[in-house]
């Protein structure tokens, strides 16, 4: 039995005028770290709210830990942990008071499940008498995670836990998730950061309420059609403009210090032709390499196909 399963889930707002989630089906296995990757407005939060019984879907069915999200919502509320996107703890309560409150709310105590949160809690323990509102972003996330874990949930839903958090704190956060996974907790996490996708066991790429692809990050990148090249030169911005106006260009996007490029028709000939073209245009230090696509490349590719 899957830990989470969705069948043709659909969610609309404003009497059907705004479609947030369109016909989404997926299943997450027990103990899996599953990522839902997509930009803001893709429908991630709506999906999470349906699964945490906060919203009723307009169509389709879904189960969490075997319970139906509509019929058995009470059972689901007993067994899942949820961390909403917005920082949702009591700002005027201290770290310890927040944790105590949520522990009691779930009929447990900090001591009972301390093992589970220990590693995370020791990092915020020095600030336990500080009000939650006075914590930094990274610390708030850790506290929120502790609160969501305190009752040893079977499935943990994390809605954009790393949004607005700096990249060091993000790395730390993902390490924590890795370790939680070892405790056999199923984790569903959503994020707009494509680079975080590789840290998941499996991912669903989502855009405008539709699933673009579901698979392991590795398989998704393997499914990238054709070859992807990295092109760099001394003047990246100029290069981008020139490549956009080049005839044989299928796509060209800036990726950090280099450009990711695909040909309409490809081959050693074409690569050499491009190299010459750029030399004629007086680009210096031109380097063209074939590279392995990233999730972001795949996302851009799938997104362009959709529209």
């Amino acid at each position: 039995m899957s830990a989470v399963s969705l069948k043709n889930i659909r969610k609309t707002y404003n009497d059907g005028k705004l479609v947030a989630v369109e016909d989404v089906s997926l299943s997450v296995e027990k103990g899996e770290l599953f990522g839902i990757i997509g930009p803001d407005g893709a429908g991630k939060t709506s999906l999470f709210r349906i699964l945490t019984t906060l919203l009723l879907p307009n169509g389709g069915s879904a189960t969490v830990d075997g319970y139906d999200v509509i019929e058995d919502y009470k059972s689901i509320r007993n067994c899942v942990g949820y961390m909403p996107g917005k920082f949702s703890l009591y700002q005027d309560l201290t770290v310890e008071e927040n944790l105590n409150f949520f522990a009691t709310l779930f009929n447990t105590s900090i001591e009972e499940n301390y093992d589970l949160i220990k590693e995370i809690y020791v990092q915020i323990a020095p600030f336990k008498d500080r009000r939650a509102g006075k914590l930094s972003g990274g610390m708030k996330q850790k506290l929120a995670l502790c609160c969501a874990l305190i009752h040893k949930p079977t499935v943990l839903f994390l809605d954009e836990p790393t949004t607005g958090v700096d990249s060091v704190s993000r790395k730390e956060f993902w390490e924590m998730l890795r370790r939680l996974k070892e405790q056999n907790i199923t984790i569903l996490v959503s994020t707009p950061y494509m680079d975080e996708a590789v840290l998941c066991d499996r991912i669903a790429l989502i855009q405008s309420g539709k699933i673009l692809s579901i698979d392991t990050p590795k398989k998704i990148t393997e499914q990238y059609p054709g070859k992807l090249y990295s092109i760099r030169s001394a003047n990246t911005h100029q290069l981008l403009g020139d490549l956009h106006s080049y005839d044989n260009t299928k796509s060209c996007f800036a990726f950090g210090e280099s450009l990711h490029y695909t040909f309409k028709s490809e081959g050693p000939e074409e690569t050499r032709a491009l190299q010459n073209h750029l030399t004629v245009l007086r680009h210096e230090e031109v380097v063209i390499n074939e590279i392995v696509p990233t999730i972001e490349d795949c996302f851009i590719h799938l997104m362009s196909n959709e529209s």
Binding site: D40, A42, S136, T163, P192, E257, I300, M303
Partner: protein, 247 residues
């Protein structure tokens, strides 16, 4: 060498014994894209507020667009643009109404506003959306529109606070195209971001750790300096030593 648009010298903001910003010095030149990076709590927001004339420094000196941040804050506000992820445009006004409003508060004439809004709408390809409420637009469009509105009055410099947070990868790149255009037109761009690939798009990067600027150079030189392959690693090297995590 051109005169810098921002010139900060030992700029400091102190709250009690706490140095939110501790003697930072740097310069930003016309048409430069200046990446302002740092971990949460490093002091970026405070520094940005001082440069925008929203907060008076407690020490050091700085000039923005030629005006002193201690005394000429009102003049600074007229000569800068500002856009943040959190607040950009009024969701319950239409695209045109927003342009008119912001043009108006920056003192543009009706004629200027009309010309500029036509140009802007054509540039963004939003002809059919001009009379729609901003709230009904997709996030990416909103952010692009907000950026264009923030430079409507041709400021010398525009401050962008995490302008691309949560935006889809294609729109994010289109957004950077707009930034490059602005820079080509001589507007300096002062930008903060959590996307490390975007750091690579900047001409120069400053890295703030615990209220101080710990590194300031072009992305290429920074990578060389730390002997790493990506800006992500540069950031990690610098920020993991930060002490001020809880604040």
């Amino acid at each position: 060498m051109k005169t810098p648009v921002i010139k900060a010298n030992k700029l400091t903001k102190r709250f009690g014994d706490f140095f939110a910003v501790n003697e930072i010095s740097f310069e930003v030149y016309p048409g430069e894209i200046f990446g302002f990076l740092g971990a949460n709590g490093a002091g970026k927001t405070t520094a940005m507020r001082m440069l925008c004339g929203l907060s008076i420094p407690t020490g050091g000196e700085a000039q923005v667009a030629g005006y002193n941040v201690f005394t000429d804050t009102e003049k600074i506000k007229k000569n800068i643009g500002y856009m943040s992820q959190k607040f950009s445009l009024y969701e319950d006004l239409t695209v045109l109404e927003n342009i008119n409003f912001f043009g108006g508060i920056y003192g543009l004439t009706d004629k200027q506003i009309k010309e500029k809004s036509e140009k802007l709408i054509a540039q963004l390809g939003m002809g059919s959306e001009a009379k729609k409420l901003v709230g009904s637009l997709p996030l990416g469009w909103k952010q692009k529109l907000a950026f264009s509105v923030s430079i409507l009055h041709d400021p010398k410099i525009v401050f962008l606070d995490e302008p691309t947070g949560g935006v889809d990868p294609i729109t994010r790149r289109q957004f950077w195209d707009l930034i490059y255009d602005a820079a080509d037109n001589g507007i300096s761009v002062f930008v903060t971001t959590h996307y490390m690939d975007e750091a690579e798009y900047c001409n120069r990067i400053s890295m703030m750790v615990d209220g101080k600027i710990m590194a300031l150079d072009s992305p290429a030189n920074l990578k060389k300096q730390f002997s790493v392959a990506s800006m992500d690693e540069v950031f990690f090297e610098l920020a993991r030593g930060a002490k001020r995590k809880a604040d």
